[in-house]
Symmetry: C2
Subunit: 286 residues, 2 copies
């Protein structure tokens, strides 16, 4: 059906769709205690990281996801110093967060060291900041780790997980969201990858908004952005804030950010907050 050559294909059975990348070779395959990890060399998208059959990232298009899951929240908090990343084993999120000079500590808590080992070897550009003295890499259960953190001890928690099934299911539930709320300081924010607006508005997105509001966050808002290699190519991050609304971000700091990005900028920050007509009433609390 797809013709000659080798392809990696992710089938989304529930959505009756599939996405394929032409691959040259499989570079790595491993079954850890938690997940099935594969790395491919693709024809046109650089390297491809796959976990449990789902595309996690490609070298060519991961920049949008990593930038949009980190910088909008970091430029919304008035002074983010203490950051935790739950999941994020590929370390691309860690790299983005560490670009902010005011950040004093970032703890990355991924349950599966295998992902980080694979990233170090096959995606060295994502792990280039791992030796930053502000970074700590833990391989542990993020849910349990959050429960053990002191109240008010973090400014930002980024949940960079796989889909809300299997290992990551607990990261979308009210118990975990409530614990994150407790751990955050007064101006604290959390960011969660929240799947596709066109595929998951009435399911994952609606539930997540409900759980975040029940957890006591003053403001819950969803940002949209494109991710070529994720189902539908149309993705979202949902930000829950105890303090400022992401629309009231440090605009001037974002305009004069002391680091390079490839997708994010102050205009894109504001643009990502616009709710499509069919998402109004869910994506915004205005």
């Amino acid at each position: 059906m797809i013709g000659k050559g080798n392809w990696f294909t992710e089938v989304m059975e529930d959505e009756g769709m599939a996405f394929s990348l032409r691959v040259r070779e499989k570079l790595h395959e491993e079954r850890t205690a938690f997940q099935h990890i594969e790395v491919y060399e693709t024809e046109a998208w650089g390297r491809l990281l796959v976990i449990d059959g789902c595309v996690m990232l490609t070298s060519r298009d991961n920049f949008v996801y990593h930038e949009m899951m980190s910088h909008p929240a970091l430029f919304t908090h008035p002074d983010p110093r203490r950051v935790a990343i739950i999941g994020g084993g590929d370390c691309g999120m860690l790299r983005e967060v560490l670009k902010h000079p005011g950040v004093e500590s970032v703890v990355q808590v991924d349950i599966d060291a295998g992902v980080t080992r694979a990233a170090e070897r096959y995606f060295p550009e994502l792990t280039e900041s791992n030796d930053d003295p502000r970074a700590s890499l833990l391989f542990d259960d993020g849910v349990a780790w959050i429960e053990n953190q002191p109240t008010g001890s973090l400014d930002l928690v980024i949940v960079d997980s796989t889909d809300p099934v299997g290992v990551a299911e607990g990261l979308f539930g009210p118990a975990f969201l409530g614990q994150v709320h407790r751990v955050l300081g007064e101006q604290g924010l959390m960011v969660q990858q929240s799947e596709s607006p066109i595929l998951h508005r009435d399911t994952i997105l609606a539930r997540l908004h409900g759980h975040m509001r029940q957890s006591g966050y003053a403001r819950v808002v969803t940002l949209q952005y494109p991710v070529v290699s994720y189902p539908s190519g149309w993705w979202s991050a949902t930000v829950a804030s105890k303090g400022p609304h992401p629309a009231d971000f440090r605009d001037q700091d974002a305009r004069h950010k002391p680091f390079a990005t490839h997708y994010y900028n102050a205009d894109i920050h504001r643009a990502a907050l616009a709710a499509p007509e069919f998402c109004k009433g869910l994506f915004t609390d205005q």
Copy 2:
């Protein structure tokens, strides 16, 4: 590779990627004098229109494309009355344009009547405005038709074409763009579908911007939006204006539009204009 069942797959050879939709049956297949037309019933995306092997639209996701190719320009022109659509044989664009009560005439010029016949039969929701007395459907060569129009006789020209190869190639060239410029009134605009920011920035998009500027347009700007069923899921429209910049649109009219949309609104209009960092200097003229 894709498993059981029937799939329609579009392979993008140059990009080493493929997109597949699970189909129940092929409803229609026809080779016209110009193109190979297919219509499928899909499992989860409604009906699927394919021309020369490329996805043109699905029932479920075409709303974003049609709305973003029409309403931003219609709310930018101060008083759009005379509109032409070049291509657009599925009639979805015609339907959107006719939602604007101030529009007095819309001429749709598609070279291939087969597309419109297929749309009438399999996508009746797209053709529901075809009997509007303001609409004229011509089946003719859009390049020749534009050459025969009087100078200054149109307010908006929307080029809703297939990819810039084969039949549609001439619609992206400087000769055609120059003729459209001549045919537009003083405040006139043209809109062109301009492919994917991540796939075609340095090729189709860069050339189109260059040709539009050479044709004398005061302002050329690219809007981005998601289209699930197009290559990369990340699409664009490029607007060339002899008058107002699309950022200076009739914001209040858009906010109080007397018709329903599913994606477009005034916030989305402004948001679509934000240029990703890697597109700055091309997408905007600021």
